[in-house]
Every structure is written in structure tokens, then in C-alpha cells.
């Protein structure tokens, strides 16, 4: 196992201590709740849309430093992205940590999110880092279900990650 500093990088600890966009989004178009029953980590992700573009993403929840920092940095990373771009990023982030996908993901393409590369060395903790991203994907997929539900406002989806 590598140095713990690889896992708990300064930027991760900072986001854990002072998470960005940690609040409910009252006018969210969609939201989803995610939890890891084995850890007790819980996260709710709120998405506000402007057409096909993500206007704002916020989250609330509790859990370990990895899960909280991951959620915090995710909200920064996907703001301003189109739905398609956000979905692609979500998949790439998860593929980076689980080493799934057709081709290995180059951490450099993920920008600041590359700090989570070290989590790969701690298989029990991968699900902590991917929880928020699974939850975001659930929220976005829900948004795909059509105008009727969109008109009904935010819906609730429970995600269980089993990486």
C-alpha cells in the first residue's frame, strides 16, 4: 500500500473540511439520493438545469473524507457542462477508479479530479469516491425520462454502489 499522503492529499482534506456547494438547491430540476449501506455514507445531489446545460450542482450528506471531498469537487467539475459532457465525465471518473471501460482512463484528462487516482490503491475506499458520481448519474438519467416528470419537479432515486 502506498503512502497515505497519496490518498489524503491536501486538496482532498481541504474539500472535506470546507466542502463547496454544500447546500440544498431549492429550485433543483432533479435530485437523487445515494447511500453506501455498508459504510453509512449518504449524499444527496441537486441539479439545476439551463436547457441542456448544468447551471448549478449542490450536495448535502455525510461520510468519510473521500466521499465528501469527491462530492464537493464533483460539483465544481460539472457546473457549466452539458448533460452529455457530465455523463461522460461521471463514467470516466468511475472507470478511472474501477479500471473498467474499454480503454484505461488517463488521469490527466480529468483535471483536478486526478487527485483521486490514489484511491485505486485502497479497494475498500473506491466506493466512497464514486458515490457522489453514481448519484449524479442517477439524477441526470432521471432527467431523461421526459417532460412529464420534469414538470413534476425533483424526483428521488436511491443509489447503492457496489464497486
Amino acid at each position: 500500500m502506498s503512502d497515505l499522503r497519496e490518498l489524503y492529499q491536501e486538496v482532498i482534506l481541504d474539500h472535506n473540511k470546507s466542502p463547496h456547494n454544500f447546500r440544498e438547491l431549492p429550485d433543483a430540476d432533479h435530485h437523487a439520493e445515494g447511500d453506501n449501506p455498508l459504510c453509512g455514507d449518504v449524499v444527496t445531489v441537486y441539479v439545476g438545469l439551463d436547457g441542456d446545460t448544468i447551471r448549478e450542482v449542490t450536495f448535502q450528506g455525510s461520510g468519510c473524507a473521500i466521499s465528501q471531498a469527491s462530492a464537493s469537487m464533483m460539483t465544481d467539475a460539472v457546473r457549466g457542462k452539458t448533460l452529455e459532457e457530465a455523463r461522460k465525465l461521471s463514467l470516466e471518473f468511475r472507470n478511472l477508479l474501477t479500471e473498467r471501460g474499454e480503454e484505461p482512463v488517463d488521469p490527466a484528462t480529468l483535471g483536478k479530479l486526478a487527485v483521486f487516482t490514489g484511491v485505486k490503491e485502497y479497494p475498500m475506499r473506491v466506493k466512497c469516491a464514486t458515490l457522489a458520481w453514481h448519484t449524479l448519474a442517477a439524477a441526470l438519467d432521471h432527467g431523461d425520462r421526459g417532460g412529464a416528470e420534469r414538470a413534476g419537479g425533483a424526483k428521488k432515486v436511491t443509489v447503492t454502489t457496489e464497486e
Binding site: 461520510g63 473521500i66 485502497y122 466512497c128
Partner: protein, 420 residues
């Protein structure tokens, strides 16, 4: 530290260094540091005598039991039945036939739920448990209760993690068919007043039977089922220095005699025909199929190993470790002990302000210190104390005061790392 000095003085009679050499797994480095194994409530390490007993079975005596007249079959049968006798002695049982081998505590409790309680359970009946039970002493009761419209009634605990005996009395009713209680809480370390509980349950109406989940107790204190007066006692081999996959249900022979089998198959029958089958007497009635023979051999070796030690001195040593860890961790700013019952054993559960228990666990592991982080299969306990999870250090006879110091230093390191 005065507490530590006092504790060391009190335990001069038992020196853990005399047993550490017997446990091969303790002598390794983890992440570049000597392993400090403090996850004994999850599973204990195994002494050489246990490993040898399992190996002896496979290298010399490997055969099936209770059938076959050849030499190896006789040896295997003798090994298995001798193991049963060893367990009976360990528990103070009146007869070897009161000892049923199971896969572990979980299966033992399920067997009682299915074969003893379920036949006498009707809609509106109740099974009384405590708020501090392990899921293994909750879910089996929920399953059988759910089948008939009965309910599981949890008895509350106070802010120290002590069972409320008045509430226990109040929970008993003419609809209570069973009381199931842990001897020692795996999440809090609370030692429950089992004898008192048994007296109260037996004294209610015609008497309510009591099962004791002894998974956390067997490694730490001598068990005497006759003195406890309980109806059933369950424990797991792997938590008492034996192999995984072997455990014990001790049952009052009157109850065992009337219980139907849970599993059907070979070795649990008297005669089989397509017109009808008759079952063997206990304990074989409850041991369908080829059992974990090598596990029984290993368990017997573990119990022999433990019984050869001065158990009173060992208990005093473990108690001193607990006191040392509780005082030293409790003195750290931001550390909250979860479970502060006056009667506790071998377990210290704690949270560190600003650091999630899983991060505590990972950082401690980086320093070679193995603790458990999570809800410890006791989610109602976590809810009671308003925490999602705790870090838990749990001790065994081979742990040392130096290891307690290593634990405390690692927690301080985690606090520095997180800047809390």
C-alpha cells in the same frame, strides 16, 4: 501515565509476551510497521496449536465421520466427538449431547429461531431482544416473527450503553415467547447481567426461555451455562482463537429433545424410507451433512489452549488494557467514547471529531494498527448514539500496553493529518 503504570502493576501475573510467540500472524509488518492487531472482536488470530490441529486432520486423519469402519474414519470420528466433549467441558455442560456444532453463532441463533421458537410462535407474540444486539441476534427473530405476525421487541439502553432492567421487566408479557440477549455487546463492550436477566425471564409467568449470544464473551471469561441458568448459549470458534466456520449451540437437553431439525440430510436421521423418516437424537439431529470436522478439531485445540492459561490473570490483563485504552483515548481532545458502561470488556468504541471512522481506520492501518470501522453489524446501537459509525479497538490476551500506546499515537497522527 499513571493509569498505565497502575494497570501494568495489576497484571504482573500474566505477561502477554509469554503467548505472543504462539501466534504466527502477529509477527509481521503491515505498511512498514509491526502489526498491532486490535480487531479481535471481529476475529482473533490463531495459536500454532490450532493451526497444527487443522493440519493434523488433513495430513493424517482425513476421513468422514460416523460411518466407515476403517482406521481413518475412526480417528476422524474420535477427533470430532472429543472436540464436542472439550466444548461441553468449556461450557460447563452436563452432557456432551447438549453441544450442537454449527457454522457459528449466527447459525446457532437461526437454529433456535427456526426449530425452537417458530413452532411455538403465533400472531401477536413477541421476542424480546436488547437495543445493543448484533444483527445476528435481531434478524433471525425478525424472520420467524414475520412469518406469523409476531414482533421483535427491543429493550432500550441508557446513554452509557447499559441495559435498562426496568424496561426489560416492562417488556415481558404473557405474549413473550423468547428472550435473546448478548452476553457482551460487540459494539459497546457492555457486559449484560445475564444471570439477572435469566432469573427475571424465568420468573415471569410460566417462565420465558432465554438465549445468550456469547460470541463476544467466550474469549474473555469462563462460561458456565449451569450457573447462568440460560436455555441456550451460542458462540463462534473464530472469535475464541479457533477456525472460522465452526461454532456451537449449547441447549438445555429438554429443549433440544423437542426441537425438529432445521436441515435434512445425512447423519441426522435414524431411518429413512419413502413412507417416512425418523430423526436421530440431539445433537446429530441438528448436524445434517458432513460437518466441519477440521474446524471442530481446531476449536477444541483453541479451547484447550485457553483453558491451560490462568483465565483470571488473563481477564485482569485484558481489563487493564481496556482501562488503559479508554483513559488514554478519552483524554484526547475530540475523542468521544461510545459505550461507557461500568461493566465492560475488551472493546473500546470511539469517534474522533472531524474525522470519519473510515478515515480513522485507514490512517491507523497506515501505521500498522488494525481496528474496525463501521456500524459493527449493530445499526440500532449506532442510531441510539446518533453516530453513523465508530472506530473500534478490541483486545485479546496477546495484546500489550505498548500496542495501546501505538493505537493512541496513531489516533493523534490522524488528528494532525486532518488538522483537527
Amino acid at each position: 501515565m499513571t493509569v498505565s503504570a497502575k494497570a501494568k502493576q495489576a497484571t504482573a501475573a500474566f505477561d502477554p509476551e509469554t503467548v505472543r510467540a504462539d501466534f504466527p500472524a502477529l509477527h509481521q509488518e503491515v505498511n512498514g510497521r509491526p502489526l498491532v492487531y486490535l480487531d479481535n472482536a471481529a476475529t482473533t488470530q490463531k495459536p500454532r496449536a490450532v493451526i497444527d490441529a487443522v493440519e493434523r486432520f488433513y495430513t493424517r486423519d482425513c476421513s468422514n465421520i460416523h460411518r466407515g469402519v476403517h482406521t481413518l474414519a475412526e480417528r476422524a470420528t474420535a477427533t470430532y466427538e472429543r472436540a464436542r466433549a472439550t466444548v461441553a467441558r468449556f461450557l460447563g455442560a452436563g452432557d456432551d449431547a447438549e453441544v450442537v456444532f454449527t457454522r457459528g453463532t449466527t447459525e446457532a441463533i437461526n437454529l433456535v429461531a427456526r426449530s425452537f421458537v417458530r413452532p411455538r410462535l403465533s400472531a401477536g407474540d413477541e421476542v424480546v431482544v436488547t437495543w445493543m444486539e448484533h444483527h445476528a441476534n435481531i434478524v433471525p427473530w425478525q424472520i420467524v416473527c414475520g412469518e406469523v405476525g409476531a414482533t421483535v421487541e427491543p429493550v432500550p439502553i441508557d446513554e452509557r450503553g447499559v441495559l435498562d432492567l426496568d424496561a426489560f421487566d416492562a417488556a415481558l408479557s404473557e405474549r413473550t415467547r423468547m428472550v435473546a440477549v448478548g452476553h457482551i455487546s460487540n459494539a459497546l463492550g457492555t457486559v449484560n447481567p445475564v444471570r439477572e436477566i435469566v432469573e427475571r425471564a424465568h420468573g415471569f409467568g410460566d417462565g420465558i426461555p432465554v438465549l445468550v449470544d456469547g460470541a463476544q464473551a467466550a474469549a474473555h471469561r469462563p462460561i458456565d451455562v449451569a450457573a447462568l441458568g440460560c436455555d441456550f448459549y451460542a458462540f463462534s470458534g473464530h472469535k475464541v482463537f479457533g477456525p472460522s466456520g465452526i461454532g456451537v449451540l449449547w441447549g438445555d437437553p429438554r429443549h433440544l429433545a423437542e426441537m425438529p431439525p432445521m436441515l435434512g440430510g445425512g447423519d441426522m436421521i435414524r431411518t429413512v424410507s419413502f413412507e417416512g423418516t425418523t430423526y436421530a437424537d440431539p445433537p446429530n439431529r441438528f448436524e445434517a451433512g458432513t460437518p466441519n470436522i477440521e474446524g471442530a478439531a481446531g476449536l477444541a485445540a483453541a479451547l484447550d489452549y485457553l483453558s491451560a492459561l490462568d483465565r483470571r490473570a488473563v481477564a485482569a490483563h485484558e481489563h487493564a488494557l481496556l482501562e488503559h485504552a479508554s483513559d488514554a483515548l478519552g483524554a484526547l481532545p475530540g475523542v468521544r467514547l461510545i459505550g461507557t458502561a461500568p461493566e465492560r470488556e475488551a472493546i473500546v468504541s470511539f469517534t474522533v471529531e472531524g474525522i470519519h471512522p473510515h478515515d480513522v481506520g485507514t490512517i491507523l492501518d497506515g501505521r500498522g494498527v488494525a481496528v474496525r470501522a463501521g456500524h459493527h453489524c449493530a445499526q440500532p446501537v449506532m442510531k441510539r448514539f446518533g453516530v453513523p459509525a465508530t472506530a473500534r479497538a478490541s483486545f485479546a490476551l496477546y495484546n500489550t500496553h505498548a500496542e495501546v500506546e501505538a493505537l493512541v499515537a496513531a489516533v493523534r497522527h490522524a488528528q494532525e493529518m486532518f488538522g483537527v
